[in-house]
Amino acid sequence: MTEAWLEPAAWLIILPLAWASVAFLAGPGRGARLAILALVAQLGLALELAADLTQRGARMHAVGGWGAPLGIDLMADGLSAVMLLLTQAVALPIAVYAQAYFAETHHRHAATWFWPLAGFLLAAMNALFLSADLFNLYVTLELLGLAAVGLVAVGGGTAQITAALRYLLVSLLASGGYLLGVALLYGAYGTVSMTTLAPLAVGQTPLAVWIAAGLMLVGLLAKTALLPFHFWLPPAHGGAPAPVSALLSALVVKASFYLVLRLALGPFAMMTGTAAGLIGVLGASAILWGAWQALRAQRLKQLVAWSTVAQLGYLFLIFPLLAADGLALQAGALQVVAHGLAKAALFAAAGVLMRATGRDTVEGLAGVAGRVPLTLFAFGLAGVSIMGLPPSAGFLAKWLLIDAALKQGQWGWIVVIIVGSLLAAGYIFRVLRQAFLLAPEDSHFQPVPRRLEWVAFVLAAASVLLGLRGAELVALLGVGS
């Protein structure tokens, strides 16, 4: 009995829902301390879940006690545990960051309902990573999408509203496609449980199921901002307040990617060959195009946002490389984690840099290295992971990708990976270089709370040091697959 009470998977969803509600109840602008406390607990829960899974293997939690296909199952395996760990590990420092960030008067407006929105966002992600039911996943997708749109809009400026609207429309169109896919699957098989579906979908696949798979995957790819559906991302992520950008870029886009991966490994395992190759080509184009745009971006946060477009591209390179050896899957998971931590650090650092200079341009960074050296160091460290230089987790991801491509003799991807890394070095050093310039005579720098700087640094250091613990991550990922 006590065992069931303490089920970490369940509490990982209940807890953020609860603190989001209480934060709403507490009133405008309230809830920061509660959120941070709860996030500490959530991180503990995620760690406990991971430890538990490693010991006892993957497990199901039948909500309502019915079990699939009648009820909804929650499923926790290595992949979910990795995603959950990343989510809590990024959310906690970002919450600490946000508390200090929104304490400034001119950000008060944005902070009115930030905490409940963030709570629902995290609950949606945790629920998504644990759900094994396609319709339930639709609800979590909508929850996630609406929370993300709300967070984009909290800035309240014209640019943010426009970005939020565009994001909302893409998101709704995408979930519409997903929902139609679910409807078709239910029609074809009479169930929406992934575990029940997976064995049914092999063998003679009806045309309707192929279309369902196409609709769902295209919808999810749009939500993950894969080229050519990337257009909504730079304004949305580049325009939001820094802590929001960090959450969106580091975590939210990963949720839909996770779902693509789940589907490709589960019910839609029949989608291989051409479809997987096409996704890989789109990923490769995203790497190059995103990096190119980042090289050209005038505004700092736009640069970081375009970098997200590029880095997400790497995630899709794994689909043509998925094989029994699991290398590509490991590469994908590592890239998700590495990019999550590093991108959160980059946005956190960008927030500091913008506050220090009072501007959002790359140009305006001249001389900032002398003022906020810790932040710049954090930016550089996170950049190491983004560029895929050792010993960062980003490096391990790219290493595994190259290894997988070599093993299968698919040389083209290797060229893309390496060129992408060099382009990434280009835009990261573009920022660092500017920051190292001598400050112009007329520049004024604003003081920045130290806490903001430290959060950026901790996240960046985590993304690099994780590279030394890749083996543990891979072992966890292996649970239940």
């Binding site: 609406l146 609207l165 519409g176 139609l180 409807a183 239910y186 029609g187 730079p234």
Partner: protein, 101 residues
């Protein structure tokens, strides 16, 4: 052809009509209308296809109830954002690439 299948097929038509509408129409209100048509289409497919044998199925019906509530939430949000945009710029469309960079 059973009643369920008939409505499912019309649902396909409505979905595509709505989806193309969301993409093609410029006015934000029209996009919202199209989104609702699209959603209704998906709901019809969900229930109609499941009930193509003629038996009512409470599971997709409950799902559609959930879906309708989600749709109204999304509609209210989209309209709210559109109104906020209108209040700030006077525009009722999303112009292309105003903040691309």
């Amino acid at each position: 052809m059973s009643t369920g299948l008939l409505y499912a097929l019309s649902g396909v038509g409505l979905f595509m009509l709505g989806a193309v509408g969301v993409i093609v129409l410029a006015h934000l209100m029209r996009k919202v209308l199209a989104f609702n048509v699209m959603g209704s289409g998906a709901f019809l497919v969900l229930v109609g296809l499941a009930q193509r044998t003629g038996q009512p199925d409470p599971v997709p019906q409950a799902m559609v109830l959930t879906g309708i509530v989600v749709a109204v939430a999304a509609t209210a949000l989209a309209l709210g954002l559109a109104r906020a945009l209108h209040a700030r710029t006077g525009g009722v469309t999303l112009t292309q690439g105003e903040d691309g960079d």
